[in-house]
Subunit: 354 residues, 2 copies
DNA sequence: TTGAAAGCGTTACCAA
DNA sequence: TTGGTAACGCTTTCAA
């Protein structure tokens, strides 16, 4: 009696146990358990029954060590607490689970040092492939991962000089659509409120914004690019920046829906009515966007879908390594959702259709 | 030439490689790598150097299989895409990383079937402990996990009939504070807008709401509990339910900040000014709460902290199994954040201080 | 302080 | 169709 040091630290049930109980060898048990062909129906039945009775779970570590495959994917991401990346991660998790893979997540905070650590961890944990949404450290570290035999898929990031699969939602196109929508309504003085810095999501939106303006022959107006560093400071920033603009902008294209909340408030405090005095277009189609006052025109994109698609691309590459030689590029189109925060400018002077 | 089947599928660098290069045995290499005492300084230095030069990473699978410890924690969670759980998961990830653990996440969608699968996965993956924020399947499956030698910590959930650590933010207390705040302002007719169903987070808020009312001698008014099933339906629900109430409620305590967005809109369309005609208090202190019109009074809680604390409790239990015999209960207090959406009722008749 | 050898639980390769 | 045996890469006795 009193065998157990820790109560509950019971011995693991191994394949030997079930082989014994089924009256077959370990090899036969293994084959039966894995659905391999060369097993007699009777043997298979007995093995499966034994496994059931003993509630047997194959040890993933032993299995991987012996067989090679870990059925694990890595996800390298700036911050899984951020709602955008959380949804992307959810897409990855769902797709991975559906195909029988586990995923291991590493947060980098977009620090290149932590990215390097993430790569080490992926190697140690024998992931079969990596989904990368954080590439501050650039191409060479990723190239090393590829050399080590891992497949990689870039999510919502681009990296020049590396032949690697990419899945991304087209920010440039989304920003273009948002801005073009405002142009089509007759706006010609359109501000862009965005984050400071030059990260991918900022750069691409800016590019789409510019393309739409150029297409209309609207010249660059640097003072219309309003930058903020952190959300809590945006309200003040708007309050100070907007009234200083001459002539007044008649529309704003904002970085995302979240930042539209303080913008709306600032506009209200400024006494500028939306959309009568100024139009506002966001990005993301956040859950609350439809319920703001006024309901927000925005660009719907699906980080969830990027996660799902990216994972599917990765798994396909893992499971049929011969096919699909070249790097695959998948671009998910965002979609403009027109609600009530955008309308023609009230001052008809700038309208094109009059 | 042309040795590599897949270009890049290079052979793994093992401990034998570094033992060879350092001119010691595998055992000595292992000891040196793991910082064990019985190694001569010279041997240790040579081993470490070799490891560095070859960019050696110990194989987590082999290490776990041989040594027992996986340094992996499981996280069982309803939905890592939801912003609340995403932040909780971030807390878990940060704390785990800080202590050298990896985490593996499983989404259950609060389905008891998926929970059971999650448990199987945890067993297969040899996690050392599990953080559980989804317990639809009840106590027995969790008891089985404990029997298998895993430590468990419940996050933001309670489970009777099981001696297990718990870390939770006190919804009941938060709801109490929110409601008591409204009472103190003089409100006596306070509606509670909440989700349908009886999940933990709903039940506990309701309890806190009731306790505050009782304390004031305000009787139960079932018609003041307004339920909604999904966010997109809430706006209509409010529009239809509020005007029907006699006498009018002078305040609303809502399930969370997100649902305050459509509520605010409905109130506006109803022509009820906040806070002049009706006060509104949310829950969560979401990023946007301070920027709504008016800025939202709410209850700040930190799912991130729950994740961090829960992970620390778990790791402590793993690393000093002898200590801390009894189940540990950690309750994080929420904090009321008073902004401008709550004020005394304008009809002075119900005020207490007059 | 060192090294040889025996596992850890599984799969894969051969013979039988 | 089966079972023995050799890996997989590492840690951990146990002698030396």
């Amino acid at each position: 009696m009193a065998q157990l040091a820790r109560p509950g630290a019971s011995r693991r049930i191994t394949i030997r146990d079930i082989a014994l109980r089924a009256g077959v060898s370990v090899s036969t048990a293994s084959r039966a358990l894995n659905g391999k062909p060369d097993v007699s129906p009777q043997a298979r039945a007995r093995v499966l029954a034994a496994a059931q009775e003993l509630n047997y779970m194959a040890d993933a570590y032993a299995r991987t060590l012996a067989g090679g495959r870990s059925r694990t994917l890595g996800l390298i991401i700036p911050n899984n607490g951020d709602s955008f990346f959380a949804q992307l991660a959810r897409g990855v998790a769902d797709a991975a689970t559906a195909h029988g893979y586990s995923i291991i997540v590493y947060n980098t905070n977009e620090s290149s040092e932590l990215e390097l650590q993430a790569h080490q961890l992926m190697l140690a944990r024998r992931v079969e492939g990596v989904l990368v949404a954080s590439v501050e450290s650039g191409a060479p570290p990723l190239a090393r991962l590829l050399e080590a035999g891992l497949s990689c898929v870039l999510l919502n990031r681009r990296l020049d000089g590396l032949q690697v699969d990419e899945v991304l939602s087209d920010y440039e196109e989304g920003a273009y659509q948002a801005t073009a929508h405002l142009c089509a309504l007759g706006h010609r003085r359109i501000a862009h409120v965005t984050l400071e810095g030059d990260r991918y999501s900022v750069r691409t939106r800016l590019a789409g914004y510019r393309r739409a303006l150029e297409e209309q022959g609207i010249g660059e107006a640097p003072e219309l690019i309003i930058r903020y560093s952190r959300l809590p400071l945006l309200y003040e920033r708007i309050l100070q920046a907007l009234p200083a603009l001459r002539p007044r902008p008649t529309a704003i294209f904002a970085y995302n829906d979240l930042c539209c909340v303080p913008i709306l408030r600032a506009l209200q405090d400024l006494g500028w009515k939306v959309p009568e005095d100024i139009s506002l277009v966001g990005y993301d189609d956040a859950e609350f966007a439809a319920w703001l006052s006024p309901p927000l025109t925005t660009v719907a994109q699906s980080p969830y879908d990027v996660g799902v698609k990216g994972t599917e691309v990765l798994i396909e590459r893992l499971e049929s390594p011969s096919e699909s030689q070249g790097a695959k590029k998948l671009v998910l189109k965002p979609q403009l959702v027109v609600r009530q925060s955008s309308a023609p400018p009230s001052t008809a002077t700038t309208q094109r259709d009059t």
